[in-house]
Structures are given as C-alpha cells and as structure tokens.
Homo-oligomer: 340 residues x 3
C-alpha cells in the first residue's frame, strides 16, 4: 500500500509538474536559446511641416522645422513648439517688474536684479534687467495649432552585438515612395516610420489641441523582441505611445515650457534681444530590445534544471512520508535500518 | 549511532539552513514578489535666479536662465555657466596667435589657419581666423559666484509599465505654495523638489565656489525603490548627489568648459561675432527604479528552490557518509546491497 | 554487476561533470564574486581643429569647434559638420518653390505656405516663406573634407557605487604631455584618450571621405570590465567603434543632415536669416561596465548549486535504472521493498 503511495506521490509530484515545467522552460520561456537583452540603437528624427502664425503683437512668423524643433539636430529627445509668447526688442535697462507681489521679498527676480526702488506708477519694484519685461499672462490658445499635421520621420537602427544582427525600422518593402508618403497606423501600417503629430498624441489617450496650449511630454517606445531562429523578416519593431507627465496630483500645474533669446546688435554695437517663452511637447524615443537564438549551453542547463526539480520532488516525497504521515515512525525504521 | 549521525547531519544541513534560506528568500529578498527593474522616466528641469556681472572688459551683463542654462530647454542633462571669458567683436582676418610655442608645429591651430608668416612684433605665428584671438589666460575667480543661490526645480515622472503604476516626485502635500517655496533638505524636506545650487554641490562633499572657477560635473541620482504591496504613499523618491569628474590623478587638470559664439552682421552684411568660453557645472540627473508586487509564480518558484536546496543537503549527507567517513565501506555495503 | 553500473553511472554523471561545472562556475564565471552591472558614468568631449572653407557662393568660412560641433557643450552625443549648403540673406516674402512636382499636392511645403498661385516662369507653385528658397541639389563633395584630421578628446569618469570604486580613462602615466599629444591606436596606444576623426571612422570599416559627403552615425563603445580583486591599475577601458546607420536595404538613402538658421535684424528692425543645411557624422559614446569582487555569499551559493547539480545526477542515475533499464522491475522491487 505504502509503495503505491510513494509511487503515486512521485508520479504526481515529479512526472506531471516536471513535464509541465520543462515544457514551460523550453517552449514558452525559450530555455534553449541564448539571450541578448541589450540593444545598440541609433535614432534619427526628421520633422516636416511649416506653419505661418500672425498675431497682432509680433506680426507674421513662419515656423519651419529649423525653428520649432529644439534642438534641430534630429535627436532622440526633442521638443516641438506648439505655442509661444514673444517679447521683442528687449534692452538692458531699468523698468517695472510685472506685478507678482508674493515674490517681491525673494532675493532673485526672474527677470532682473532689484534696484530697491518701488515704482508708484505700477506699484511694483524696479528692476535692472532686460526691458520691457515679459508679460506674466498664461496662454489660452495654441498659436501653432496646425502643428498637429506635422509629421515625424523616425529612423531607428538597432544591433544585437552578441548575434551580429542588425536591422532598421525602415523595412524593405521594395516600394520607396510608400516609405516617404505613408502614415503610421497600428493596424493598417504598423511598420510605417512616419507619424502624424496629432495621431501620435491621440494614441496616448490625450487631445493634441489641449496639450498644445501649455505643453507636455510624450514617450515613444520602440520594442524589438526577436526570435533570431526565425527568418530575418520576422524581427520587426512594435511602437507604443505614452504620456509621461500625467500628474495625478491635479493641483500642481502640468505643462512644458522654457525661454530662449535671440541676440542682435544695433549699428552702435549695443545689444538687444527677442525673448521667446515657448510651450510645446517633448518627445522621448525609447528603444528596448531583446533577442534569442538557439544555443546548446542554455538547452543543457534548462534540461538539467528540470531534472534537478524532479530530484526535489523525490525528496519532497521522502519528507512527506518520513516526517508527516502517521506511519512515519514505521517508514523511518525501514529507511534508516539499524546498522549493527 | 550512525542513524543519529545521519539524522543529525540532515537536520543541521537541511532544516536549519533551509528555514534560514527560505526566510531570507521570501522575506528579505521578497521572493514572493514579481519584480520590475526598468522604469520609464521623464525629467523636466527649471532653473531660477538672475545674476548681473560687470567686469571692466565686457561691461554689464545680465545672466538669466535663458543664458546660463545650456541648453535652455529643461533637459535631464544640462550645464550651468558659472564663469566665462568673453572675446567681443571678432572679425575674420589676419592676426597674431597668442603665444603657445609648444603647439607651433602642429597642423591645426585652435583659433585659425596658419599663414606661414612669423610675426616679429609678438614672436608668434600669424593666423587667418577670427581676430582678435581669445587670450589664453586661465580664470582665477568665478564671475557668476552668486549662482550658488540659483534653484533647480526637478519634475520627475516615473512609470512601472508592468504594474501600471505611475507617480511623480511632486508629492501631494495639499499645499502648493510649499512646493514652490521649499528647499530640499535630506532630513527636514526630503521630498521637496527644489534644490539650491550651492547646497547641492556641498552635498557632494565639494565647495561650490571652488568648483565654479573652472567647472565640473555633478550627478543627481533619483531612486524609486517601491514595494507596491504597500500603500501608494509609501513609494517615494530618494535623492543622492555625487561629483562625477573627480580625478584621482591630480596632474591632469579637471574642470568643464566649452566655447560658443553669437553671430552678428553689420550694415554692410559682413559677419562679426562674440566668442564666449564658458566654465560651469554639468548636472546629470539619473533615475533608477525597481518595484515589486505579490505574484503567485515567483512565490511557488521561491518555495520550490528552497526544497531543491533541502534535497541538496540530503545528498550532501549521503556523500559525507558514503565517501568521506571512516565507516564508509561498511555504510556503502548497506546502501548498495548486493542484488542476487 | 548492477552495483557497479550504478556506481559507474554516479561517477560519470556526478563527479566528472560536477567538478567541471564547479570549476566553470567558480573560476571562469567568477562565481565567488559579488557583481555590479551598472556603472555611473560621466563623459566630456572636446574637439580640436579648424578648417577654412571657401566656395564661390558663400565666400570664406572659418569652422572652429564652436561652429562644427553641435551642440558645442562637450556632450556624450554630438554631431560634427562635414558638409553644408548655405542659403544666405533669406527674407520673409513670396517666391517660387524649387521644382518638386511629386510633392505639389501635399498640404505642407517644406519651405513655406502655398499661396495657390502657379508661377509660369518656373512652372512651380508660389510660396509664402523665407526667400530665396534653398536649392534642392544634393552635395557631391565634402566641403570640410579636412575634418578627418580633427581630434576628439574623450574624458570618461566611471564609478561602481556598490564597491565605491572610481576611475577615469585618463590613466596615470606620469607623463602629462603624452596625454595631450598622443593618438589612439588599439595596439600601440590603447589607453590614449585622443582619437583622430579619420582613424575613428576607418576603424568602423568605412571611409571618412565617403561618409563626409552625406553624413552618418558612429558609435564609440567604452567598456570597463574590472576584476576588483586585482590591482587598481588592472581596471582599464576598452574602446570599440561601430557604424550605427548601416542600412542593409540600400534603396533607402542613408546619411545624416539637418537645418538650422542664424537670425539677424537690419537697421529697420526687419529680420533676415542664413539657413544652413548641414551634413555630418553623429557620434554616440556608450559606456558599459561591470565589476566583480570576492564576497562570501555568492561563493557559498555557487558551491551549493554545484552540490544541487550533484544531487540531480544521483537522481538521474536512479531514474535510469528504475524506469529505463530492462531489469527495472527487478531493481524496483529492491528499491521499494514490500512493507509488511
């Protein structure tokens, strides 16, 4: 009876789970493959589209990619201007700070150095800085709202150094004009490397026009999960999109903006500048990849581990019978027979 | 007697260490949790503070964040100007190289192309380049020494995609003005996202004023180590600061500087420029994170591994008795009884 | 007979592979060491060299590091201009688009907004934008071909935080002038931190002059694989070079270019600009590192795992004899003796 118990236990504890674990390790987890988790990656981006803005304050402005992409050098992380406040013809001098009374006591002003004079005309402090100062008002509409029609062209080259495998996201379709005109769609055109800005933001679950007013941050993930035992054409990128600056704490204002200035000199050699406060969307392209390929060493280790777990099952059976069952003392006598 | 030996051995080798290892795996190493080591992160930085410099050579200069942060776009890696050498009104022409005799034979000059003429007046080679050339002297004092009062506001959004968990370092205190006015302190204000530049450098064990003269490189580490079985409010960032350019080899000069130029055109359309050699501190914000959450699969694997190690202990006991003890031949006879 | 079989099997399955596996784990895989796979790294780069270009269209140009390195701030990822197309004195206005008939139907022009007028003189559409527009021709020769003599000085500081170990690639040779004048060579000067641009590209298996015409992307890998049980001087960087934008799909044009503009204002306050389309090589410095140091915990675990695999061998022997050999039923009778 007990023999059958032990045999039954062993079969239940060993054969069934072992076969399952081995199958899981070998087939599902691809335990027979050598793996590469690090990927060498190079990303080049190119924006297309121009927008003409024309507001009463600063006159007509043409925004080309050389202006609205910051930096313009085709980086993996870049910022696209969707809104701006321009303060033209600032000169170093003395003028009134825009009223921000709560900051009046602070050592540093944002726009200049406090002279100690309080101007009665405005009720604010006088500063020594670039005058006139930028108005403190917040934007309500996006001046570059048409930026949603801009397109991002992403070139991504990857390499798995261990397997000497390299590929690009510009897939060989035998149709070049397709790759220049297509527009990414996760169902219809999953391998098209051109992304319309508005679509891209809406894929994160947000609205481009809302985001364009005060800016934000978007992550573009490119994943390369490749089984190199299969054909070269089976190793393809998968794109996903996520908004990175979602603030669950709604009380702190979200958005993305910064200032930059263009400096000029007049005929007398004096400097003046135009200050731009730009709002926009920062894109961060993140590339992940892992590849696997058949290799004898992990195969042997995987099978070996399977046997080790079998051994564990046998030991557990012994343990159960020796220490836990009611007949343990009897069984133990058999197991550890007295050595005379 | 031997039975007790074996039992004793098994208990010593198996029960005690096993319970310890299992406890260590399950409790200390949190073996019952599924883990996520990669974190998606977005960092936005904003500098505050202005400084007025006024040296005899270049006149008054106002340095705002749009000037002293390079690039000004709120990046994760940025440079803050703490010192500079200005060479205004350079024009393309012919002039004398500043004396650097040891480089006279080299093909390239730093500042222009050698014409082959040796100028008796200065004893140096004539170059074709931007004239007058920058003086070669090293700075002794930091012109933007007040930069130590600048503040860095760091917004860091993280996401553990596997657990669909996202959080920001701007913690929900229910007090917005606190988050705008506080100053980071590892004891009093460990979750304040505003860092005074001087404090930040002193936390690396260095002096801001010393570092400001010729520049350097500082790393700001943000670590998110989160047990997601606990409450949302228990997942908090930990900041640490380290100087990245410490050179144990004192003979090679440390520091961080580079040059950039602002280009102008005069009325006749000819170009001239102002060359800036800026010294400063590069900040590199590095975000690490790992999270764990209860999952049945790693729990089973952890317990299973514990049993496997128990099996190993039993085998070791057998080995010790069969191969190593003096009574081994006798015991071996018992173990492998003759099959008739 | 069977006893010898089992003993023989155990020796073959246990002793030999176990000793080999233990040796492999302990010596080759350094199983006795605690490991650190993440490295904190700081990279500072500095380019040297000037080039004078003089083409009929744009007159003489002096390219210093402040111009041809984009951004000029000594980053880990940077772009070096090797070729360019200059379009000087552009002003906002109306002019003819350069003939690109296939794009005539598209909503966005690259250079301006379509007015709807078709100009008979050129046969192309009229645009409202920066005029005159850039010519569409592709470059055939590299204007900065002498850039192959530029040198990159790479300062790399690394830190293994777990072991509190830090080192720089500027090795202590006791000879400073060597570190300022040397030129990297993988055999003669493997630790020299100065790289000639032309050599660096040729080490990737490509030709600098070919690459300079339309640009490309090059990765510089710095690997720190350190056994910290050895002397401090044994932890050294290893450099390797790879072209990152190799396109196996030859039909899609490779290369690297982008546009930027320099803005000016005339005496009347009107803006004009010079547009540069620059071609060049992007360098991406990637730092990897791992370190190991003796630690008692991994040593115990490694030896323990060895024993576990031994136990697996014993179990496999039992399995073979019980389930697979022809005498299995007989042997099984012995193994599981009837408990009365």
């Amino acid at each position: 009876m007990y023999i059958f118990c032990i045999l039954n236990c062993q079969i239940k504890l060993i054969e069934n789970p072992c076969v399952k674990i081995l199958r899981w390790v070998l087939i599902y987890k691809k335990g027979y493959q050598s793996r590469e988790e690090t990927v060498q990656s190079s990303v080049i981006t190119k924006l297309k589209g121009v927008v003409m803005t024309n507001n009463t304050e600063s006159g007509p402005h043409l925004w080309g990619a050389e202006d609205y992409v910051i930096p313009p050098s085709g980086e993996q992380v870049f910022f696209i201007v969707t809104n701006y406040i321009e303060t033209p013809n600032q000169r170093l001098g003395f003028c009134a700070e825009v009223s921000e009374k709560q900051y009046c006591g602070s050592f540093f002003f944002r726009t200049g150095v406090k002279t100690g004079v309080c101007l009665n005309s405005t009720g604010t402090c006088e500063i020594h800085g670039w005058c006139p100062v930028e108005t403190g008002r917040k934007p309500l509409v996006a001046l570059l709202s048409k930026a949603e029609n801009f397109t991002i062209y992403i070139k991504n080259f990857i390499r798995f150094p261990k397997f000497e495998f390299s590929k690009s996201n510009i897939l060989d379709t035998g149709n070049d004009s397709y790759l220049k005109r297509c527009s990414y769609d996760n169902v219809l055109h999953p391998y098209c490397p051109i992304f319309r800005l508005g679509d891209l933001v809406s894929r994160t679950g947000h609205n481009f026009q809302d985001m364009a007013v005060v800016g934000g941050s978007v992550g573009i993930l490119i994943e390369w999960i490749c089984d190199l035992d299969k054909d070269y054409s089976q190793c393809n990128p998968a794109y996903s999109f996520t908004r990175l600056d979602i603030n669950l704490n709604s009380s702190v204002t979200s958005g993305y903006n910064f200032r930059y200035a263009r400096y000029y000199k007049d005929e007398t050699g004096n400097s003046y500048r135009t200050l731009y406060k730009v709002y926009g969307i920062r894109f961060d392209i993140m590339v992940n990849g892992r590849a696997g390929k058949f290799n004898i060493i992990p195969t042997v280790i995987a099978i070996g581990s399977g046997f080790a777990i079998m051994g564990m099952g046998k030991f557990a059976c012994d343990m159960i019978f020796v220490y836990m069952l009611s007949t343990s003392s009897f069984y133990r006598d058999r197991k550890f027979e007295i050595l005379k």
